[in-house]
Symmetry: C2
Subunit: 565 residues, 2 copies
């Protein structure tokens, strides 16, 4: 059997090549019928673009890998669209079939990515790189590195696991919705137990292959490649310490001020969606290649540079800033995705986004950093006075809106958290999920651990499961290792914005005028257009001149909440 398998692999490797050389040519875009678009559909003329995805390269193995990853990338894009459709347009009765289809696509991607001869192709390409470094520019090198990284994450897993995980990422949204609606712990517990088990298996398989021993880190690697658990623990320790000392000072200071006027009123849904749409256009989101949708499900970031459909939770007709926050957050993700090097590296690993931590940095720099400045509200206030028919309504004044969005008060709900206590929520989830994966905490003990640690960190005890351990969708959809991305993203966002202010001293007046173009361009140039060219550390260092650290975040919090404007 062993022997047969070896011969099999050899034959596949040798002769598969012949077949693929034929298939490859069938699949090249230049062999497709030439179908020029009408002039008015063409984008503005640009400098000629070299489509590096198809550019010839002296390493045959690398060329072959590029073709394979093009098809894998295409399948991923198809799965994205199927998922977006799942959340926005699919008839309810199709959901079971759809889970099967999404699972199937991921199984196929996995089969393609971990096929018998992939290792050999990687070896040959790496060998070529070693011997002919001059043929490989930094993008090619990074592309090969990212291909191998994808392989390393996936090869240890089997098709069944991949299929289950993919189904779960949508199935879990329904489970979570039901658990929330019914505050139903027993059912959630059984489900979460199976999800934790599955993720532990994934982590164990990865560690067994890599020789690593930190289960949690092997999951985190999907969201923050190259960042170690120790890094995160150090950062969290440092940030936690600073924030713990800042929090009482901020609360004390705010207690001495008059509280803001209550935002709650009636804000028509259509007007809110117009505002969200208009703000996204202002930050540079291209609606020709994207859209904005509401969903009854939990929102989700994603899409591709050609088709970036943002999904936000249904608007709250009593609080327009609820959906606005969501739209700005998803908009930050959206301009990142749309700014990826789609013309040159579309579908190739190096052309993708850098994962959840960098994704969150792009969402949070818009939503939390920029859209909570007083300057932003100076721009917003007169517009919402007009939009919501409240001329000189003090609720809609810049000062009041700013006060609402910078009000710091511990709450049981992460989604309602302010910018300061948000960190503690993330730290709290991080501790729990790490312990769940490392086997130090059982799902059955989660509610108690959740509440106790929440009490410990924020002095709050949730009154219901809904306000406690059922509140977040992440674990239901199998995302273990994602939570730290929020805090690391926040750090990164603060560090990037510090540099932006240094590079463009007049940036505040731009924001006050509703002109976000300088920010978007800067982010586009330093982050979005880089794709996965650089590891996270190098990306941040190249953009800001400094190593990634929580220092800028601490300075940002001090400056926003403890200094006079």
């Amino acid at each position: 059997m062993r022997f047969i398998e070896k011969i099999h692999n050899l034959m596949i490797g040798l002769f598969g090549f012949i077949r693929r050389v034929v298939a490859r040519h069938a699949a090249r875009p230049d062999s497709l019928p030439d179908m020029p678009v009408k002039k008015d559909e063409l984008p503005a003329p640009e400098a000629p673009v070299i489509v590096r995805q198809y550019e010839e390269h002296p390493s045959e193995a690398y060329m072959e890998l590029k073709y394979r990853f093009r098809d894998i990338g295409r399948m991923a894009a198809i799965a994205e669209t199927m998922g977006r459709d799942f959340l926005t347009a699919m008839p309810e009765g199709a959901w079971r079939a759809r889970l099967g289809q999404i699972g199937f696509l991921h199984r196929r991607m996995h089969e393609d990515m971990t096929g018998d001869d992939m290792k050999r192709l990687f070896d040959r390409a790496s060998d070529h790189l070693e011997k002919n470094a001059g043929d490989w520019d930094e993008w090619d090198q990074a592309n090969l590195r990212e291909m191998q990284e994808k392989y390393r994450l996936n090869a240890p897993l089997d098709a069944e696991m991949i299929e289950k995980r993919a189904r779960l990422s949508y199935e879990g949204r329904r489970r979570h919705r039901d658990a929330l609606a019914n505050d139903d712990w027993p059912e959630a517990r059984a489900f979460l137990s199976s999800v934790v088990d599955m993720n532990r298996q994934v982590a164990e398989k990865r560690c067994k292959t890599s020789g690593g021993n930190v289960l949690y880190q092997s999951l985190m690697a999907e969201y923050m490649p190259g960042i170690s658990l120790t890094d995160v623990e150090d950062w969290f320790g440092e940030t936690g310490k600073s924030f713990k000392s800042l929090l009482p000072k901020i609360m004390e200071r705010q207690a001495a001020e008059a509280p803001p006027h209550d935002i709650r009123d009636f804000y028509p849904a259509k007007a809110q969606m117009w505002l969200n749409h208009a703000l996204l256009e202002a930050i540079g989101f291209d609606f020709r290649r994207g859209g904005l949708y509401e969903t009854g499900h939990n929102p989700v970031e994603g899409g591709t540079p050609d088709d970036t459909r943002l999904v936000i939770k249904n608007v709250d007709i009593n609080d327009f800033m609820d959906s606005m926050k969501s739209a700005l957050h998803e908009g930050g993700h959206g301009i990142y995705i749309q700014g990826l090097p789609r013309k040159t590296w579309k579908y190739q690993p190096v052309g993708q986004d850098m994962g959840a931590a960098v994704q969150e940095s792009q969402a949070l720099i818009i939503e939390m950093i920029i859209a909570r400045t007083r300057d932003f509200f100076d721009f917003l206030s007169p517009r919402v006075e007009g939009l919501f028919h409240g001329m000189h309504n003090p609720v809609l004044g810049a000062e009041n809106l700013h006060k609402i969005k910078t009000r710091v008060r511990p709450s049981a709900l992460r989604k309602k958290a302010d910018e300061v206590t948000y960190f503690f929520h993330v730290q709290h989830r991080f501790n729990l999920e790490r312990d769940l994966i490392e086997g130090r905490l059982k799902v059955a003990d989660l509610p108690e651990a959740w509440d106790a640690q929440m009490q410990d960190i924020l002095g709050i005890r949730p009154e219901t499961m809904r306000e406690g351990c059922l509140q977040d969708v992440h674990w239901f959809v199998g995302k273990f290792g994602y939570f730290p991305s929020y805090a690391v993203g926040h750090m990164m966002a603060a560090q990037l914005f510090e540099k932006i202010r240094k590079d463009m001293p007049d940036i505040r007046s731009h924001i006050r005028a509703g002109d976000f173009q300088p920010v978007t361009s800067w982010l586009g140039q330093h982050i979005h257009a880089k794709g996965r060219l650089l590891p996270i550390g190098a990306l941040v260092e190249q953009a800001t001149g400094k190593a990634l650290s929580p220092e800028a975040l601490v300075r940002h919090i001090e400056s926003r909440y403890l200094k006079t404007a």
Copy 2:
């Protein structure tokens, strides 16, 4: 090289099996996590269903084929959703990428369907059937037959061709839209020439493999499997002869009557869509597994039994019967698709619809046969009086609506044609496309041939290209051989309805009451639930007790247009 390929094929065949046995188990639904739905999401309890797609069968080769065609069917369902999204929700800027994705899916399906060892699997399964006929019930036999039929249509073609055709089926919609908008023949000519060439190549390859010599018939086989060109020519001759003698009589009779009141008025779009929605519900379309959308593109039938999203052209606010007709037509397709044996044979070839001719019969029996009876308008009239605020408005009276929809007058446009002249339009397109494919007519000569034959058949000369050879989308999307389906479908629809009236003598009173359930059930039982169990001839014969022929259609036209009610 030859030798190497042979060894390669052998090895693939032998060892691929091992791999697939593993992959197969990974992909079985019972190995997926058990995720029961909430009770209120469950459909009403039914008799237990044997999922025959996964049912064990003594022929190993057949089991393997079932797994492969399950995945091919899944990809087809994914491509359907991607196509539906293309027409209804996709941002415009994504279209190029989307064409690539749809083309890719079809290439993959083709690779899977025509893989090196498929022929061997078919041989083994056929051999098993021959020697162990008792193990094969009629469904298994039909499933194998339909697998082979799919193989026969696809194996002669290469991946490049398949990819081009798939792209074209969406790209052509845009081309047609532009050609219509600009009445632009030179550009349309170049494009249509390449489409005709491609279809001729497809036909040639098929004929070369099968030994056939009728190019056109090999294309028609996609839409009317098992029907020969001679059959169609005979039917068309017979129908044409009868209709030619009936047409002047009908027109003479109608000329003696007062013409109907003009329908044109203002009918709000939302009210129209409510009506369309309500009528679809009445005919039994299940909105839990489907939806109704408008599009700026040409409408298209399709979808899967789990997810049947009907698409109609944007409503005409001056004529509610325009979108109503479209909705009823697509609704006929829709209930057919939803009624396929999805629980037992989902994704398997035998579980699919019977192709365009039967599809059109199901659309036309609703739209043309039933929804143009006086009984239907007796039901509709009081509702539209209320909906469109026209109490006792003579325009909305049953008699007037009926008169409008049974008015026979030759026109240049197929889509505006009445039930009688519609046939001549179809015959006209059939003649032209057959000659284009058989090489007897050049695309450059198409406008002249179109106009001359239109003059000859209907006595009308189109004034613009838009009203002439640019009017239909079919050729632009590569559908050569589709047109006869409309006429054959019409024949079939009349024959089915004749039997329905015989089986249920009180059917008219049901229609008058807006109760379409008896019709839908009858069609469900005799047509929809059969999938591809029977060839078209046998399907019609089993349902009606008679061979398929134009006789019932001629009787129907005589009765509707020349007898007193």
